[in-house]
Symmetry: C2
Subunit: 676 residues, 2 copies
């Protein structure tokens, strides 16, 4: 209870302060605003709360803030009274702590005082219901620090009670009460409001009349000595009015103390009991009005809420405990990403990254590291393809597997990798396909792999590539990259290719051919599909995305079976252990950069590097004979490739001719290409 | 049974072939040899097996190879007969399959034939017991492919049995048997061998005499028509001799068929039954000797073993199923590392890496990625220090944690990280310490952190740094790196420091001061401790390791509390998700490179980069005022640092003076250093 001091002869009027009631929905909405809109902006924000005057006895008077607090045009709940506030959300706990609370209070008090002096508060009494909310949201821990203030201007002296508070039914007849109820409802309806925070009252034995503050002179014409005012009172204590009365009494003293010595106050309380409306429990009392008609200075103000311990200090709510852990994980993952947009890369279009569907061909060292980095970028849709099982040497280099996964012959990598992603982050949509990718030079009608199985594998792969946006080639052989490279090129999917040597690696994107019709135009509206081949004229120009080659473009040997006749150190990809992490991370960062480009996969290959100004190799750009054949003949063409040695593809692409010409000109030990 | 064909009038002699018995120990030893010694060497290797003639009925005749097979000087087990072999271990399954088995057999047969012709086999009958073993060891899967061959020269025709096999007790009296036993034992003892594979026998009704082959002429002087030979027989079938007899009969035919028409063969079988020795179950028979005294050409040979299906083909054993999974994991992890040494980096000293003890200060994004890379390098001793708990945003970026680790407030990172390493690879020695690192500007006699706790933390940290070889600084603030950097410098430990920006990072080693006395000399024998400061004379020279600075050397602001007053996006290390993987991997690769240098942490900082030829900053090299104070005053000095603002350290190191001078010369907004 805030006590007013003064004349010791009479009881002094005391007021029940508000308890702030900040709903979980409010904090969720604040979190969203902070992340997506305010970011680092600390400027004061308008917010909106409300209070209710129908609570049963025992409940404190609450000023409630809900998720709707940030929408100033949101409707006020029925029979509630609005309050307008200012949110000071700080960026740091430090500035939360060091905020000048005295100054903030004074500023708010001054605004209220000015609205009283100018008469604006008479026109719009909600101006008296002002509150402040100082917050700091620790979104990493879901801890919310806050301090609530409902500024109350102080009268120059405490107010002696001429007549102590009594229940309305002790002062008013039933008829008067019914008349008050009717008059109040009519005025609310006329004004189109859910509640009247403050109003004027005039009554005789039969009738009670109410009016808006602004009609004061007309309404109170002919009154002597005493006037009656009504306040919508959130308090339900029998002896005390609630906090909103305070500023209204200051207004009354300022406006009317020159004409009247006292004011009768009706604390309007309007609850429903056992199905029937009841305003009879409202209280009514009379106080002496202090003389402050012409005082020019803003009175001192109070209003910062005490904390749970009863001292002057902030409160903290820890919402991490009451949130669903999986949703908490989702928003936490998003948090780190959104923070990038606040200051460092405001133009970053996270949605383009988060919504991309990634197909990872290979769930080994590279696949695991690429998946981990994709998770870090918030990518939600990740699919693995692999046909291997987890062996004992894998877990220390393939960061999605553990020792347990190796037992009893080892789990299939693709499935185990998808399971692990779910364990890391339940919000991810991860799948695994334990299947082989048909390869040139690995005959399909030989041994146990039948032609029919190969046909099914090709179809499955075509479907998978079709249903994803970005295809990562992360296998451990050269030739297994061939088929997906061809299919992805045909389907105009972005291909990111990573391959490891011992202490070297390749991370590249494949060129994205021009769309067949208009289909890719939707994805990349800026892509110059319709425009002429602007850049084809000069070999020295930067290369547009649709002219970039693929992994096989610069090779002079077509892919064949590279696993036959390999020694142990050639079978395993023997590389410096750190290399896969570096290459995997760069592959994803490359994807992200390409996705951020307005033309996506058609982005020009530009670089500040001087080498880019040299001609892009004299071998020309991209031999697309293979693509044409695939699109014409489909699986029949592929079956020929799988069952043939190098020569079939080399004949097709003209490499055979190139070899003959080269060999005529120089000695070239081809065997070296095979074995080292 | 291998059948000999020929004269249909009499039964033909048939021989029971050897079954190869390749012990698990043999494959383990082959694995070790392959990894550490043979590597890519496919040259034939001498190996050694043995056979036994005391098995009970029902067991096949086995040629056994154990772990000792690779040690040609290893003793032969008691009562076993040695056999010498040649191991052809191929590098690839392909060359295993395509090995010219006919040629290998011919070569071996020819050697046997030459030893017969030259008489060498008479001197050393073990030359007749030759075998071949063609292998391919798939050490990734622990699949061992092998094909065993015991070359047997074929006689020009099959051998008619003049007298069919009967038990020795049907031909010899008890007296004769005892005499044989005694004679054989005496000869073994005289010769100092465990068994005689072949020997000569002469007997009458009372006495049996035995002799070495080389004494043939003396021993058989006066014999007519028939001689008796003894063969140590691994077969226990009543009707058939074992394989070793075959080459001996060829020798007999070649040597003696001009003198004798037939030979009596005693297949010496020597088992212990119910505690008593029993040679009575030996068999004896007589065969016609074919005429081949002067034939010059090597006879054709047979001997490749049939596989389990009864066909001519190799066998495979899968040892992954019968090995202890944890040991399997250990050797698999080592495998990938050892493969690097085979061809790519033969000089790599893996022991220096594997045995290093690493202390990771920080188990967040960097710490997790560094630990993963260390595991990939086979490092077995990893200790984490961190005081944070795992939050929901961590698992997608910190690859040692999962969603489950975040529940109920989150597990302590240091402990969870250590647990995870054990799950990845049970062979690792990982520990976690959930503790804070005292920091400059974070007062220790304030709030709940008492001075005593800080003293304990410092002591704990000193002990941890003392007991490790390499200290990784992987924290998320600048000032938390200060204390460990000082302690590690004082203890002359290699410090690797990694720190992330948004799309930039630092990975560096700290300079390693010269050893106080001789202590570091042991570690780095090449370090020029005693030599004069050879390089100090020129600022343009490359910088030796002991003159390199630390993370703080180039700073003009001493470390202080950087976490106060941080906005959300400054609190979390907001960086491109791929960055930590890259920096973590590079930090470990840097450590490995430094460890490989003969001078270790004292390695000169050389680079082909031109910038290295510029002077190493005009601020001089390393201000070691801090180190001196720490070594003199210990915790008292540290407590001052923790409790002071920047100014204490800046006064000490002369930075205050530098600032004053700088500010006199230019406008410098120091507040920017604090908040951005």
């Amino acid at each position: 209870m805030a006590a007013a001091t003064g004349d010791p002869g009479l009881s002094k009027l005391q007021f029940a302060p508000f308890s702030s009631a900040l709903d979980v929905g409010f904090w969720h909405e604040l979190t969203q605003k902070k992340l997506n809109e305010y970011r680092l902006d600390e400027a004061p924000k308008d917010i909106k709360g409300y209070y209710y005057n129908g609570d049963s006895a025992g409940l404190p008077a609450r000023l409630t803030l809900e998720f709707s607090a940030f929408d100033m045009s949101a409707p006020t709940p029925a029979r509630c009274c609005p309050a307008v506030g200012t949110l000071y959300n700080t960026n740091t706990l430090e500035s939360f702590k060091t905020a000048d609370k005295k100054l903030l209070l004074e500023q708010a008090a001054n605004e209220i005082w000015e609205s009283i002096k100018s008469g604006a508060a008479l026109e719009n009494p909600v101006l008296l219901n002002k509150f402040l909310l100082l917050t700091f949201a620790d979104l990493k821990k879901y801890h919310f620090y806050y301090w609530f203030c409902y500024p109350a201007l102080c009268l120059p002296e405490s107010l002696p009670l001429i007549q102590g508070p009594v229940g309305l039914d002790q002062r008013f007849s039933l008829k008067q009460i019914e008349s008050l109820e009717c008059a109040y409802d009519n005025l609310c309806q006329t004004e189109g409001v859910t509640a009247l925070p403050y109003f004027l009252i005039k009554y005789d034995e039969n009738t009670v009349l109410v009016s808006l503050l602004k009609h004061y002179s007309d309404f109170f014409q002919g009154q002597r000595m005493k006037i009656t005012i009504g306040v919508y009172d959130p308090c339900n204590l029998a002896q005390y009015p609630g906090w909103p009365l305070r500023n209204f009494l200051v207004l009354a003293a300022h406006r009317w103390s020159s004409s009247f010595q006292s004011v009768e106050v009706l604390c309007f309380r309007d609850r429903t009991m056992q199905g029937a409306r009841d305003i009879a429990h409202s209280i009514i009392f009379e106080v002496k009005l202090p003389e402050m008609a012409f005082s020019p200075d803003c009175p001192k103000a109070v209003g910062w809420e005490k904390n749970q311990k009863g001292g002057m200090g902030p409160r903290m709510v820890n919402l991490s405990e009451c949130m669903d852990p999986k949703r908490l994980a989702e928003s936490s993952v998003d948090l780190n990403l959104k923070l990038m947009c606040w200051r460092l890369v405001p133009t970053l279009d996270l949605d383009k990254v988060v919504s991309v569907k990634c197909l990872l061909l290979g769930a080994g060292t590279l696949g695991c590291n690429v998946a981990r980095t994709l998770m870090g970028w918030g990518v939600r849709h990740i699919t693995f393809v692999d046909n291997a099982k987890i062996s004992y040497s894998n877990p220390v280099r393939q960061p999605l597997y553990e020792f347990e996964d190796c037992l009893v012959g080892g789990k299939p990598k693709a499935l185990a990798a998808a399971d692990r992603l779910q364990k890391i982050f339940p919000g991810v949509n991860a799948r695994g396909f334990n299947m082989s990718i048909p390869m040139p030079g690995h005959p399909v009608n030989f041994s146990s792999v039948t032609l029919e199985q190969a046909r099914r594998d090709v179809e499955q792969l075509e479907q998978l590539i079709e249903s994803h946006d970005v295809i990562f080639l992360l296998m451990d052989t050269r030739e297994s990259r061939w088929l997906p490279a061809v299919i992805a090129a045909s389907k105009r999917k972005l291909v990111i290719n990573a391959a490891l040597g011992f202490d070297t690696f390749v991370v590249m994107r494949h060129g994205l051919k021009k769309p067949k019709q208009q289909d890719a135009g939707d994805l990349y509206p800026n892509h110059p599909v319709a425009s002429a081949d602007l850049l084809g004229s000069s070999l020295f120009a930067n290369i547009p995305g649709y002219k970039l080659g693929c992994y096989f473009c610069n090779d002079v040997v077509a892919p064949g079976d590279s696993t036959r006749d390999r020694t142990l150190d050639q079978q395993c990809t023997v590389s410096r252990p750190g290399l896969a992490m570096i290459a995997g991370a760069l592959a994803v960062e490359l994807m992200v950069s390409v996705l951020q480009h307005p033309e996506g996969g058609y982005a020009i290959a530009s670089s500040s590097d001087d080498r880019m100004n040299e001609p892009p190799t004299s071998l020309g750009l991209v031999p697309h004979q293979v693509l044409d054949q695939y699109e014409r003949e489909g699986f029949n063409f592929l079956a020929k490739v799988f069952n043939s040695s190098h020569s079939f593809l080399e004949d097709l692409t003209g490499l055979t001719l190139l070899h003959q010409e080269t060999q005529a000109a120089e000695i070239w030990d081809m065997s070296d290409d095979e074995t080292i």
